[in-house]
């Protein structure tokens, strides 16, 4: 075994020459990496006098991060697991960040300065699905500080220093939900108050040091209690009833509970609709939000309450901020047109109002967090952290946006590529040329110094800076090599961004859904993004554009809408609310006379609607309609169905609406198979050659068709995660299905294997990754498909006489003989995403891009996944580049395209071609974004940046000098000869 390892390692070393690799000083030359955190849901400020001011946030992407309050930069960030959503965060002992996650069952402490996890405690909550409340009140107990976690009817006290559960108390009463815990100052008793089944109020006195139950009392409530409460002082709280129109004031002094019902309409005059209680902490004031306004209410005396302030428009209210014993501050943020106004209210009175202009592509304000600082004159200043509709984060202070973060980019759901504008013709001044020539020479002198290892660290820094600053890569125009492009991405919030491939900056961004919001379209959400117009040939003067398709409501039957957006500027060219629903958008390989790509929108009744609406588009489609097919994978029913289109549709008489006719269906036995993954070829993939020359001069013909669908099914018992099934209960079946005829081209069963399955289809092969339960390792399998009907075209005479079928089109209508070759290998890591490199003409060899569990992207040569690999390749096979077979695919660290970067929570990898055949763009996204350019077979068609022009110049000069010297010498010699 050891020997094999060594062998593998040696092989690895010998092969590392053709892996993608960069030098350390090339970092940032072609790649960029952007880190984000996602939509913020909790924020805690840490603004002590000493040390850096920071804000700790948790987000909807399950990330927790510490941001620098001055710049908004990430100081540290951790991404928790997928099922580990953060419920609450807090600070403890001034140096730990506490996070409660997984529905209140896991409590972790992180070191505030560097983000190292200090401890983790599993609270062993028996029923985490229960609705719960968690209080991270810091209850002092000696030197240590306790944090209380309440869940339903149980309380746990956790030591902040080491995370040990000091005591736990299960009150074991059915239906009890603890709502509030507090500890009067200088007391060892904790008061816990809760509701039992929304009709009883219960109060418990608990010893803070031991968890011993000292006293308890219950009292029937006069109204049905909802779960919203607001604690207003050390001995009273306010609750809202289930009708959301009455308040209940609960006092619990000296072990007795009194409650008092107060109709909201008595307090707020023009009250109607449903109220909302904003959670606050103590000090006799609470905030009620009604549909029309926000009311600040003060409790006076026993059962008296008084309205002390009102914000007229319904705004977004922050949590309360305690300034001093008596003073409570709230922030109320209103948004109108393209301005937001921040109003800070202290004890309900308006203390500060600031207005600020804001880009209109950020949408409405979603959340606000308030923080204060003490000015030199001892007055309070305020800063507010604002979360916008597009999930961006702004820090506002003194009427200015101090910094903003585009955290919407952490939730990319779809991406397409668009070209940049063509460079305009124009003269370049001589001065400019001279200047650039000088710069150019200087740069190359520096580079030469670098290659000769003569450079000082300063020079090295200058080289690095020069690389990064290079204006060439950031221009807003198309370049000859196709390195500069726009990546247009769609995020969960519905915002569309155009990113420049040069440095990842945002060229334009638009939040389109608010434009639509109306009666007919109540809650628009964008589903997908497609290239609408890619100009070439006829329509070069037209700008390229992007199609955005979305739904007006949540259900699949709600009406769709579409936007057409100019890709240069992001301007909306066309908006349309459709009269039908959207189930799927099928791009067709056809375009109308103005180069608009034809798309079919399939609705939930299986009608196909043609876009763009135009007579020539219709004509083009009708001409090709007989050759158009559509398939649908019904995951729930374990069925794949194929359809053809027919004229006339079931819902209307529009000429652009077509019906569908079922042609075939593949039904998987639901008791033994579940569909877990499907994959198909990219619609725009280019294949260079159909023939593949084998080592023995034999020719194999690849079976290349766009209609191939890979489907993986697993046994129902193995449908869960790893660890849930035994090897004997698990199997995985891989199918290759022709989507036109429904013919199953190939079927293979892997016994003892289970998902998750990740697959990629390209040319005539499919590579898929799954888990082998018997070996307990991940495996990757490659299947290559060859066309046997063309296999006998080897005779030269036949080719000369034209008796071959090579020019016959590949069609799904005929049923050619096919042969498959397959091989499996072990792979070390779990996989999150898989893709394949695509180049402009498909000549360059392919690499498989694997997003690993460590959030890195590995480029694995397709040659490692070649079914022709054998343990002992013959001499000819070696010459051809066949790698000796090993049981495991090698992981060469230099072939990680992300090098030392990680793409947090990696979700997708996209590869798109540059104009240069050798080079392809790779864009991977998760919470972070990473872009780079790679050359799978090295850059064979252009000089790399590494090329030293100065060395070339020196060589030329040396050669000329040498020629002159030899000439002079030979002259001299000739003369001497003649004198002799």
């Amino acid at each position: 075994m050891e020997a094999r390892f060594l062998l593998g390692f040696l092989l690895l070393l010998s092969l590392s020459s053709f892996a993608f690799a960069i030098y350390e000083d090339q970092v940032g030359l072609a790649d960029w990496h952007k880190r984000y955190i996602g939509k913020v849901k909790h924020a805690v400020f840490h603004t002590q006098k000493t040390g850096r001011r920071r804000v700790v946030v948790s987000t909807e992407e399950n990330a927790i991060a510490s941001l620098d309050l001055r710049t908004g930069d990430i100081l540290w960030r951790h991404v928790l697991g997928k099922n580990d959503a953060v419920d609450q965060i807090g600070l403890s002992l001034g140096k730990y960040v506490l996070t409660l996650s997984s529905q209140g069952s896991v409590l972790r402490a992180w070191n505030l300065p560097d983000g190292q996890m200090v401890w983790e405690t599993d609270l062993q909550i028996s029923n985490p699905s229960n609705s719960f409340l968690h209080v991270l009140g810091n209850v002092k107990s000696g030197r240590d500080s306790l944090s209380l976690v309440c869940n339903g009817g149980s309380i746990r006290a956790v030591s902040s220093i080491d995370g040990l559960v000091v005591w736990k108390k299960d009150l074991s009463i059915d239906g009890l939900k603890l709502k509030h815990v507090f500890q009067p100052p200088e007391s060892d008793t904790i008061y816990a108050i809760g509701f039992i089944d929304s009709s009883l109020i219960a109060l418990y006195h608990i010893n803070a040091k031991t968890g011993e139950l000292l006293k308890h009392a219950t009292q029937a409530s006069s109204v049905d209690l909802s779960s919203e409460i607001s604690a207003i002082s050390s001995d009273s709280l306010v609750a809202l009833d289930t009708s959301r129109s009455n308040l209940l004031l609960i006092k619990f002094m000296a072990g007795t509970i009194t409650n008092h019902k107060l109709p909201l309409s008595d307090i707020v005059q023009d009250f109607s609709g449903l109220a909302e209680l904003i959670p606050t902490k103590s000090n006799d004031i609470f905030v009620v939000k009604t549909p029309s306004n926000v009311a600040f209410i003060k409790v006076k005396g026993d059962n008296e309450i008084e309205l002390i302030g009102k914000a007229d428009e319904a705004g977004i209210v922050s949590d309360s901020l305690t300034l001093s014993e008596e003073e409570q501050a709230f922030a109320v943020v209103h948004h109108s047109n393209n301005a937001i106004s921040l109003q800070v209210r202290i004890n309900g009175r308006e203390a500060l109002t600031e207005g600020i202009k804001i880009e209109d592509h950020r949408g409405h304000v979603k959340r606000v967090f308030l923080n204060n600082y003490v000015r030199t004159d001892k007055s309070h200043g305020f800063r507010a952290l604002i979360v916008m509709e597009d999930e961006s984060l702004l820090l506002m202070q003194q009427g200015e946006v101090v910094w903003s973060r585009e955290d919407g980019l952490a939730s990319i759901s779809d991406a397409v590529v668009a070209e940049l504008p063509v460079e305009k013709e124009g003269g370049v001044s001589v001065v400019e040329v001279e200047h650039t020539l000088l710069e150019w020479l200087k740069g190359h002198m520096l580079k030469l110094k670098g290659t000769l290892m003569l450079s000082t660290p300063d020079d090295m820094a200058a080289i690095q800076a020069m690389h990064l600053k290079s204006t060439e890569r950031n221009k807003m125009t198309r370049d000859h090599n196709g390195f500069r492009k726009l990546i247009i991405v769609l995020t969960r919030s519905g915002k569309v961004y155009a990113l420049h491939t040069g440095d990842g900056r945002i060229v334009w961004a638009h939040l389109l859904t608010p434009l639509l919001q109306s009666e007919s379209c109540p809650s628009p959400s964008v589903l997908t993004l497609r290239n609408w117009r890619v100009p070439h040939r006829k329509a070069l003067q037209e700008n390229p554009s992007i199609l955005l398709v979305g739904r007006c409501g949540a259900g699949p039957e709600s009406h769709g809408f579409l936007f057409i957006v100019d890709s240069y500027s992001g301007k909306v060219l066309e908006t349309q609310i459709l009269d039908h629903s959207i189930a799927e958008v099928v791009p067709l390989p056809l375009a109308d006379s103005s180069e608009q790509k034809l798309h079919l929108v399939i609705d939930d009744k299986l009608n196909a609607h043609l876009y763009p609406r135009g007579s020539d588009a219709l004509e083009v489609f009708v001409r090709e309609m007989a050759n158009m097919y559509y398939y649908k994978v019904e995951n729930a029913k374990e069925v794949i169905k194929g359809y053809a289109f027919k004229k006339g549709c079931s819902t209307g008489s529009s000429a652009y609406c077509f019906g569908t006719r079922e042609l075939w269906s593949v039904v998987f036995p639901s008791d033994s198979e579940r569909i877990v993954a499907t994959a198909r070829r990219k619609i725009n993939e280019v294949v260079h050659t159909q023939a593949k020359i084998m080592t023995n001069q034999d020719v194999m013909y690849k079976y290349i068709t766009k209609n191939i669908l890979f489907v993986a099914t697993v046994s129902p018992k193995a449908a869960g995660g790893i660890g849930s099934a035994a090897p004997d209960d698990a199997w995985l079946v891989a199918y290759l299905i022709d989507t036109v005829t429904g013919r199953i081209l190939h079927r293979v069963t892997h016994q003892g294997a289970q998902g998750p399955v990740h697959a990629v289809v390209s040319e005539n092969w499919v590579v898929y990754h799954y888990f082998n339960l018997r070996a307990h390792r991940y495996e990757m399998t490659v299947i290559e498909i060859y066309d046997q009907s063309r296999a006998d075209n080897k005779d030269v005479m036949k080719l000369v006489l034209g008796k071959h079928n090579l020019t016959a089109p590949i069609t799904s209508y005929s049923r050619p003989e096919i042969a498959t070759k397959s091989q499996s290998y072990f792979f070390t890591h779990s996989v999150k995403a898989i893709a394949v490199t695509t180049t402009a003409r498909g000549i360059t060899s392919k690499q498989i891009l694997i997003g690993t569990i460590g959030d890195q992207v590995l480029a694995l040569d397709k040659r490692y996944l070649d079914p022709r690999r054998t343990a002992n390749p013959s001499q000819e096979e070696k010459e051809e580049g066949i790698i000796p077979l090993t049981d495991t695919l090698p992981i060469i660290p230099q072939s990680y395209v992300t090098h030392t970067r990680q793409v947090g929570d990696l979700r997708g990898i996209m590869s798109f071609p540059a104009n240069l055949e050798s080079t392809t763009h790779v864009f991977s996204y998760g919470i972070d974004l990473f872009y780079t350019r790679i050359a799978p077979s090295r850059t064979y068609d252009s000089l790399t940046d590494e090329f030293s022009y100065v060395l070339l110049l020196i060589t030329v000069v040396v050669l000329i000098v040498a020629i002159l010297v030899t000439w002079a010498m030979s002259q001299k010699k000739d003369l001497q000869e003649k004198w002799r």
Binding site: H78, L80, K82, Q116, I161, L773, L951, A962
Partner: protein, 207 residues
């Protein structure tokens, strides 16, 4: 502050002692079927070299992942990690670290013999008698630039060109010296007759 850190130290010491006695600890937890898996990531013996741009490998960036992403936990400052409430069965633990390559670990929790846990590295099927995960190797993401040497300069295409020129300039005349002057002249005559110009003539522009 100092006393609290001393307390932490004491607790860690206790944990490590208990781990020495029973390294793979598994305990049926209070909520019934689940077991706990506790282990340690050990980097002590690994000194990183060549990990660039001032990144020092940090334990805080190391994640431990159960079953390909079902659960994720982080490593404590002393390297310990644990998963709670894991059902009996065969599980897979992976360590995600930017600076090191770890082998995934297969962990068997016996259902019949509660609390018995076996672990083995999947890459080389080596059984672990304690769940201490050590990296297989550190990751070297960048090609190392070869130090500048005359040889590499000479080996480059330009170097070869210059080398060849030097050879022609200095070695060929020496070879000529050995030839008899009479024969040489004859050869030159012949060459002229056949119209092969000499370099000197070509450069001088008269042939």
């Amino acid at each position: 502050m100092e006393r609290s850190s001393a307390l932490i130290g004491l607790i860690f010491l206790l944990i490590s002692i208990s781990c020495l006695i029973n390294p793979i600890s598994a305990a049926a937890s209070g909520s019934g079927e689940g077991y706990s898996i506790a282990g340690r990531v050990k980097l002590d013996n690994f000194v990183t070299k060549g990990f660039g741009l001032g990144h020092s490998p940090k334990l805080s960036e190391t994640k431990v992942i159960l079953n390909g992403g079902q659960r994720t936990t982080f490593v404590r400052p002393d390297g310990y990690f644990s998963f709670h409430d894991v059902p009996a069965g065969t599980h897979l633990i992976e360590v995600s670290s930017i600076s090191y390559l770890f082998s995934p670990v297969r962990v068997d929790i016996s259902a019949r013999n509660p609390g018995k846990i076996q672990a083995a590295l999947t890459e080389n099927r080596r059984a672990l008698n304690e769940l201490v995960l050590e990296p297989m190797k550190d990751e070297q993401y960048y090609e190392i630039r070869e130090p500048f040497s005359m040889l590499s300069l000479v080996k480059s295409p330009m170097g070869l060109m210059i080398g060849f020129m030097v050879l022609v300039m200095f070695v060929f005349p020496k070879m000529m010296d050995g030839v008899d002057p009479e024969e040489m002249r004859q050869a030159q005559e012949q060459m002229r007759e056949h119209g092969i110009p000499s370099i000197s003539n070509l450069v001088a522009g008269r042939s």
